[in-house]
């Protein structure tokens, strides 16, 4: 029975046992070992991977397994074991390919870290730029505001200075500049002396503020007829307008009225009162 059981074929011989046997055979026939056809190709593929440091880094275990499979495929076999040889070569070949795929995956993952860094760097740069831009925007907005405020305050100061120079009075109707009767000879509409400091100042002011229009109103005392006074007051106002247009002020900005003695500012029963009533008022309209 022991003999019989020894005769029993063992199914599924372990490849390890085959390997050991083959090794023994190989050692025994060391003088003429020939690897099965096709094993050189697998060996060449494997060597190519083994010479690549990236592959060795990322597929160390898979390359080790492939190496063992290739070594097994290289074991010489008898001619009647071609099927086994083909099987071993197939196994070795696929294991080399697995190692290659694993190595490439490892490389891609390493690249990914790099790509992530690049992206982070790009993001950081974007944020830095945005922050810088926002900062610069805020800065320029602040300075623009400050500039505008400074300009406005300078302009206001300048206007006030001009108004002070004109000795004008700020009223609801606008700035009222009163030109006294010393400007005109009695009964005459001509401006005395040809020039007048107050009128020069007014001309300069109107040049500087070209968006302001002007009402020129002539007034008289109650000496003489209403028609005479009305006419005289208008002519005096016209004289002022002529003076201003002569200084380059557009006539369409200048409106002229003659009120005669309709609008006295003082009582006409004294010389002083009458003198106060003989006047030309220049009203510089407020800006809309």
């Amino acid at each position: 029975m022991t003999i019989l059981s020894f005769l029993k074929p063992v199914p599924g011989l372990k490849t390890g046992a085959v390997a050991v046997l083959s090794s023994v055979l190989l050692t025994a026939c060391a003088t003429s070992p020939t690897s099965p056809d096709g094993s050189e190709d697998v060996r060449a593929k494997l060597m190519e991977l083994q010479q690549n440091p990236d592959m060795m880094t990322h597929a160390r275990i898979e390359l080790r397994d492939a190496e063992a499979a290739v070594q097994l495929a290289e074991q010489p076999l008898d001619d009647d074991e071609a099927a086994l040889a083909a099987h071993r070569i197939y196994m070795a070949d696929r294991m080399v390919e697995i190692a290659r795929a694993k190595g490439e995956i490892g490389l891609l993952e390493a690249d990914r870290a790099l790509l992530g860094e690049q992206r982070d760097a790009a993001r950081l740069a974007a944020r830095t730029r945005e922050a810088d831009q926002a900062h610069a925007d805020a800065e320029s907005a602040r300075s623009a505001q400050a500039d505008a405020a400074a300009l406005a305050s300078r302009e206001a100061e300048e206007l006030q200075r001009q108004i002070d120079t004109l000795e004008a009075e700020a009223t609801e109707r606008g700035l009222v500049l009163t030109l006294g009767d010393v400007l005109f000879a009695t009964g005459s509409a001509e401006i005395q002396g040809g020039t007048n400091q107050n009128l020069e100042k007014l001309a300069n002011f109107l040049k500087q503020y070209p968006d302001r229009n002007v009402l020129i109103e002539g007034h008289t005392d109650n000496v003489g007829s209403a028609a005479f006074n009305q006419n005289l007051s208008r002519q005096r106002a016209e004289s002022v307008r002529r003076f201003l247009t002569g200084r380059g002020i557009e006539s369409r900005r200048l409106s002229v009225y003659g009120y005669g003695f309709e609008r006295p500012v003082a009582i006409n029963d004294s010389a002083t009162g009458r003198q106060q009533n003989r006047r030309v008022e220049v009203i510089i309209e407020n800006r809309e």
Partner: protein, 133 residues
């Protein structure tokens, strides 16, 4: 002479009996060889894993190869060619493992492409913003 003949006959019978018994035993054993269950299961598991990883999409050829080897292994089992069945099952398994590896590779490459595109897009965006300023 006669006894000699008888002894020879008996010897012959004994030899035949031995041979017959041996043959019987061999036939009995050969009629029930064990299929390579372990290899076949390992192959099926590997193919199932590959399919789960969506290898049909990313490594269809490799998965098909694994399935073909497994089918051939099953046929070999039916024909009681167990050694061949074992080898085919092992080939099916390694082919499925390759399908998994190449599927992972394809997925990894897709992720990297996506990341690359993202970074490029960001760079371009930055460039554009930079140009506007």
């Amino acid at each position: 002479m006669k006894t000699h003949t008888i002894r020879r006959a008996a010897e012959r019978i004994g030899l035949f009996t031995t041979l017959f018994l041996a043959t019987l035993t061999l036939v009995a054993c050969a009629s029930a060889p064990l299929p390579p269950t372990e290899s076949l299961n390992a192959a099926r598991d590997a193919i199932a894993s590959a399919e789960q990883a969506d290898a049909r999409r990313y490594a269809g050829a490799e998965l098909e190869e694994a399935n073909r080897h497994l089918a051939e292994a099953d046929q070999a089992v039916e024909k009681e060619r167990m050694t061949e069945a074992d080898r085919l099952a092992k080939q099916a398994r390694v082919a499925a493992q390759l399908a998994i590896a190449r599927t992972e590779l394809a997925k990894a490459a897709a992720i990297n492409r996506e990341m690359g595109r993202g970074a490029e897009a960001l760079d371009e965006e930055m460039q554009r913003q930079g140009d506007q300023q």
